[in-house]
C-alpha cells in the first residue's frame, strides 16, 4: 500500500519536471526562431548615432523567401543606447549603402540604408550643447 503511494507521487513529480522542461524548451525555441542575429554595427561620422544591421529571424526569412539577404536595420543613439527606429524586413543584397545626412542644423536630418530604409527627423550631430571640438569650429 505504502509502496504504491510513493510510486504515484514519483510519477506526478516526473510529469511536473517534464512539463517544466518542455515549457522552457518551447519558450527558448520561440525566442530562437524569432530573434534576428547581428550582422554588423556602424557608427555615424561623429559617433552620435549607431546603425545595426541584423540578419532577419527564421520566421521573417520564411515570410520573405524571395529576398536574397533579408535584413532588419535599427538605429540607436550611441549615448544611452536609446532605440530611435526599426526598419521592416528589407533585402540587403546589393542594397546596403549607408548615407549619413546629419550636417544641417535642426531636426531635418536623416540616415539611409540602401534604397529601402530611411530614418527621418534626426537631430544634427552637432546639436548644441555639443562638447565636440569639430562642432566648435563650425
Amino acid at each position: 500500500m505504502k509502496n504504491k503511494m510513493a510510486n504515484r507521487i514519483d510519477i506526478k513529480k516526473i510529469q511536473c519536471i517534464a512539463c517544466c522542461l518542455i515549457l522552457v524548451a518551447a519558450i527558448f525555441l520561440a525566442w530562437y526562431l524569432s530573434s534576428p542575429t547581428l550582422h554588423n554595427r556602424y557608427n555615424s561620422p561623429l559617433h552620435i548615432y549607431r546603425l545595426e544591421v541584423y540578419d532577419a529571424s527564421w520566421f521573417q526569412k520564411m515570410m520573405y523567401r524571395d529576398f536574397a539577404e533579408p535584413s532588419v536595420v535599427r538605429l540607436y543613439q550611441s549615448n544611452g543606447q536609446k532605440l530611435l527606429g526599426t526598419s521592416p524586413v528589407v533585402d540587403r543584397w546589393r542594397n546596403d549603402a549607408i548615407v549619413w545626412n546629419l550636417d544641417s542644423p535642426g531636426s531635418a536630418n536623416d540616415v539611409q540604408f540602401g534604397k529601402d530604409v530611411r530614418f527621418d527627423q534626426l537631430r544634427s550631430e552637432c546639436e548644441p550643447p555639443s562638447p565636440l571640438l569639430v562642432c566648435m569650429k563650425q
Binding site: 517544466c20 522552457v24 554595427r41
Partner: protein, 138 residues
C-alpha cells in the same frame, strides 16, 4: 490523514516552474554583459565590440573602476577572432587603435590600455585595391 485538494498539487508544480524560471533569470542577469560601444576598422573588415563586464565579473574584479570585455569580430565571413579578459577602461582610455592597414600595418588592434589583439591579418590581404595598400607586383 487529510486529503489534499487537487489544485494544491497543480500549484505545487506551478511553483516549481516559477522557481526554475527565477533561477534561470537570475543566472542570466548575473552573467549579462551590457553593450557599451563598437568601432569599425578603417576599411570595414573588422569590428570591435566593447561590453560592460557582467555583475559576476565585476565582483571578481572589484579593484577595477570600469571593467569591460572586448571582442574582435571579422565581418565577412562572420567570425569571432578574439576575446579579451576583463580589463579596465576608466580615465578616458576608451580608444580603439587599428594597426591593421597602412600606414600602421602591424597586424594588431589596441583597445584602451590593456586589451591587445595580436596576429590579426592585414586588411590589405583580401582587398588589394584599397587606397594605401601596396599594389600587386607582376
Amino acid at each position: 490523514m487529510v486529503m489534499q485538494p487537487k489544485f494544491f498539487k497543480k500549484t505545487h508544480c506551478f511553483f516549481w516552474l516559477l522557481g526554475g524560471s527565477a533561477i534561470i533569470w537570475v543566472g542570466w542577469r548575473l552573467s549579462f554583459q551590457e553593450f557599451m560601444f563598437s568601432d569599425n576598422s578603417p576599411h570595414m573588415t573588422y569590428r570591435v565590440d566593447v561590453h560592460h563586464a557582467s555583475i559576476l565579473q565585476r565582483l571578481i574584479h572589484y579593484e577595477l573602476d570600469e571593467p569591460v570585455v572586448v571582442r574582435l569580430y571579422r565581418i565577412e565571413p562572420r567570425g569571432l577572432l578574439g576575446k579579451s579578459p576583463v580589463v579596465d577602461m576608466s580615465g578616458g582610455t576608451a580608444q580603439v587603435s587599428w594597426h591593421t592597414a597602412p600606414p600602421l600595418d602591424f597586424n594588431m588592434v589596441y583597445v584602451g590600455r590593456d586589451a591587445i589583439f595580436n596576429n590579426i591579418p592585414s586588411e590589405c590581404k583580401n582587398q588589394k585595391s584599397l587606397p594605401g595598400c601596396p599594389k600587386d607586383e607582376k
